[in-house]
């Protein structure tokens, strides 16, 4: 079964995303910060990571770079607040496969996650 890791420092967003994808029969893990995300990626080997760019402590780009040090395959979708072109370019160069802007359209979130997790 495919496994999705949701990384966001907002509890409400983690809760919502988890229940949203659980209803779509996707197995979900959540991480509240970069450290947790890295550990979970190592131990649980998710197929896809939904990674928020803006987080306190370690931001999404740093997390992605760290993950790439030991896992070059896992697919990553970046979640961003405002248009951050530079950050997105960097994410792309680190092998993120897609990004989605907040506020997002739920149908698109569903579509993009289902597509990438195949």
């Amino acid at each position: 079964m495919s496994k999705l890791l949701i990384v966001d420092d907002e509890q409400d967003i983690r809760d919502f995303a988890k229940s949203f994808f659980a209803k779509r029969k996707i197995d979900c893990l959540t991480a509240a910060n970069g450290r947790e995300a890295i550990t979970l990626t190592k131990n649980e080997k998710p197929n896809l990571i939904l990674l928020d760019i803006r987080m306190d402590e370690m931001n999404g780009l740093d997390v992605l770079a760290k993950i790439r040090e030991f896992d070059s395959n896992v697919k990553v979708i970046m979640v961003t607040g405002v248009e951050e072109k530079e950050a997105l370019d960097k994410a792309k160069s680190l092998g993120a496969s897609a990004y989605i802007h907040k506020p997002l359209i739920l149908e698109e979130l569903e579509k993009i996650v289902l597509k990438e997790i195949q």
């Binding site: 907002e10 919502f16 506020p103 997002l104 359209i105």
Partner: protein, 391 residues
Amino acid sequence: MIDYKKELESASRSMILIHEPAILIKMIVRMIVRKVNVKHAAILLYNKEKNSYVLTISRGETGLKIPPGFARVDPNSALIRFFTTERNKLLNSENGALVYGEISNLIWKESVLKNGEDMQGLLHDVSEQMQMFEAQVCIPSYFQNNLLGILLLGEKNSGEKFDHEELDFFSALASDVAMAIRNAQLFEDLRNQLDHNRDLFIHTTIALAAAIEAKDLYTRGHTERVTKLSLGIAGRLILDRAFPVPDNFLENLQIASLLHDIGKIGIPEMILNKIEKLTPEEIQIIHEHPSKGVTILQPIKELSECIKGVKYHHERYDGMGYPEKLKGEEIPLIASIISVADSYDAMTTDRPYRKAFSSKEAIAEIERNIGKQFHPKIAVALIELYKEGKI
């Protein structure tokens, strides 16, 4: 009679008066969840900047709870089109609500069938969107035919359907909310308009002030510095509660400082920029600049307070100034402040006939002239600013 009705109604009425639609919306959603006992409730609100209906509030103990600002709905999506296209609106019940369970009936309505697959497809997409939000009911909220937002209600915890009376009530509530939002927006627009006019006015004033500086080579930047200094002194006086300060005082002071030398436009350049000692006649002409300033500004009746600053900024505390030899407290506060700021700046910049003083020398000079040229409290305020390293 629905028991929560009165409570919600009176709350929404009073909220229309204050300009806080956000609070109103939050309260309504919370109350609906609690009193109507739905699994969750949410509001999609049109956001001009994002050109989207953003999920602003979502609440629910047992149902779907989406973090505010996380999700949005595109204006071109089926749900929005359903509520914005006239012929679609006809499909709904009188109160405008759309009930999930009734969509399948709507699809088979004669008018829908006649409209072909377009309408059926639209309704199908609408039902999928409602599923996405787990909404049982959508209640649109309009202002003058513009869709401002949609109230989404989840299932009731009891599993019962929403009855007509409830839907009517929610619809009325939704239009109250629309009104509150609209009022708040109008209020905001008005405030922006005022700010805009104010900016326009200040910029025009600055342009006028620049006209003086174009003539008087030695006063480049003088107006700006005097304005800054006057406002600094006034800030200090307000802080020390040295004077009762009338409404709009700072604004008037800013304008008056910018325009204090406007009358120099009427003084020949050869006198303004003369290096040699001025003759008594020339001094007389220079002394006319406050009155000339008054003549220039008089037609603008909104500037009456500022004009006092322009007219009297060369009066002296001891009554030896010009043009009217006013004394002490007879001199308007606005003019006394400009006088101190103007003198300090004049001393600390080069003039045709002498080099600039250092700040220290200028402050000493101001101190020596307390009660003579300058109002004591105002001179002290300037000296304090200097000691604190603020000038």
